[in-house]
């Protein structure tokens, strides 16, 4: 497990070529997500699929908020949508979001996971099934245990896992729960995660 990333470390092991990035966050998540996505330039080519726990309002303004702050296109996911390169998708409130084997997105209203729908575990586990080793999973700040199992699953299927350093997270429960289940490839502060995303894209595309 590495605890810093600048992209210039001399002993840096080769990063894998991934086809997608999944991200999960809860309490403190809006600020954290803005920090890691802000440096992504227009023309970024990897798809990013994110679950952010929010109160169950029917129409979320997340996509609008992020669209106005980021250079990459952002949208709320639609059921049966084909995952497009370079787009940041947010799960819609009130529905779980999954990745299907044919790399489309799908919705469901199964039971809440850790009181949450959408659930990070459900997104991560289904994405691990669909992408196998060609997936990077990033788990950030949060005050519950969602995402720990999903992150471990990504690792189990050969993907790359990144957990925000709990010491620097607004809410440390979620990253700590993930660390209790598996050892991620990277345990990083937010600015390093941003650099890692840029590097993952450079290598993959």
């Amino acid at each position: 497990m590495r605890t810093t990333f600048s992209g210039t470390e001399p002993d840096l092991p080769a990063l894998p070529k991934v086809a997608a990035i999944v991200v999960g966050a809860s309490a403190g998540g809006v600020e954290a997500l803005l920090k890691i996505f802000k440096p992504l330039r227009r023309g970024f080519r990897l798809p990013i699929i994110a679950v952010l726990h929010l109160p169950d309002e029917r129409r979320s303004h997340l996509a609008d908020v992020f669209n106005s702050h980021l250079a990459i296109p952002v949208k709320e996911a639609d059921d049966k949508e084909v995952i497009a390169p370079g787009t940041l998708y947010f799960a819609a409130p009130g529905y779980h979001l999954s990745v299907e084997a044919d790399l489309t997105l799908s919705f469901s209203q199964e039971e809440r996971v850790y009181h949450s729908r959408p659930s990070i575990d459900i997104l991560f586990e289904s994405a691990a099934d669909a992408y196998g080793a060609k997936l990077a999973g990033v788990l950030l700040t949060g005050a519950n245990n969602d995402g720990a199992k999903g992150t471990a699953r990504i690792k189990e299927y050969g993907g790359l896992t990144v957990v925000q350093d709990p010491a620097q997270a607004l809410a440390r429960t979620m990253p700590e729960a993930a660390l209790a289940l598996h050892t991620p490839d990277f345990l990083l502060p937010l600015p390093d995660i941003a650099l890692l995303l840029v590097e993952l894209e450079r290598i993959a595309c």
Binding site: D78, D79, S108, Q109, S126
Partner: protein, 273 residues
């Protein structure tokens, strides 16, 4: 990875076995969700492999009925998405009032929350007495619950809020009798409701209808099965009939896109072109 591949094979065999033995067709359901539900069922049955589950349900119909409860998702509420019901009241009801008699199909009615919501709305608009409602589902246990019209008191407060936001005209409590922890809904609401076993995956159209409500059912289908369902709805609906979907369901990506027009797009209310 080898293990994961085994799971995919076992899952396909289970779904095929269920279809061959019991004629329930989950082959064109969205894979990720079916996989999770089968994994959940395995834990409940305390079985290690999907193959073991397959053996159990193949030789024991009662075990299959248990599995069916896991495979179908009875997550529902009354007046779910109140703005949807408000839009039906404001935009659709005035047009429904022009018909001397009405037939409405609630497809995938689960435990009946959508049925009673629609019946209450129709009663308040003076339409219930001249309406026949067909409420269909693939799960007989859910249909039985729907027929009973008994819902947990725990949820009633939330339903009441929804009812008011949906433009409810009376007191929600006028529609049920409270008995301990349950709310027993007025039998007259379901007098004209026919509850029936019907599968959007394998059955055909059974009646001409003026309005079809199918909410949060199509998200569990793949595109091919969605198109089958849209085909049935198109065939069943009368000229200019109404189709209403769940808040995240759309005709947008379907082969039937051009055969319906949106009436209230935001609320997923469509009309046959």
């Amino acid at each position: 990875m080898a293990h994961e591949r085994d799971t995919e094979i076992e899952l396909r065999l289970l779904i095929e076995a269920i279809y061959l033995k019991y004629s329930y067709d989950f082959r064109d359901y969205s894979g990720a969700s079916v996989k999770r539900r089968v994994a959940h069922a395995l834990r409940q049955f305390e079985l290690k492999t999907i193959s073991a589950l397959q053996e159990r349900v193949l030789h024991d119909p009662s075990a299959f009925m248990q599995l069916l409860q896991f495979l179908t998702i009875p997550v529902s509420e009354m007046f779910r998405d109140p703005s949807h019901f408000l839009a039906i009241r404001q935009e659709v009801v005035p047009l429904l009032k022009t018909y001397p008699s009405l037939k409405i199909w609630i497809a995938g009615c689960s435990t009946g929350e959508e049925v009673y919501s629609m019946a209450i709305l129709l009663r308040e608009e003076g339409l219930l007495e001249r309406t026949i409602i067909y409420a269909t589902d693939i799960n007989p246990t859910s249909l039985e619950k729907a027929k009973q019209g008994i819902f947990s008191m725990e949820n009633i407060r939330g339903y009441n809020e929804n009812y008011l936001k949906a433009g409810g005209k009376r007191l929600f409590s006028e529609y049920y009798t409270a008995a301990y922890d349950y709310a027993i809904f007025d039998k007259s609401l379901s007098e004209n409701v026919t509850f029936a076993d019907h599968s959007l995956a394998t059955d055909s159209v059974f009646s001409e209808t003026h309005l079809i409500s199918c909410r949060n059912v199509l998200i569990y289908f793949n595109k091919k099965l969605q198109d089958r369902a849209f085909g049935l709805f198109h065939e069943s609906l009368c000229h200019r009939g109404f189709l209403v979907l769940g808040s995240k369901e759309t005709l947008e990506f379907s082969a039937f896109k051009d055969r319906f027009e949106p009436l209230v797009k935001q609320e997923r209310i469509y009309r046959k072109s």
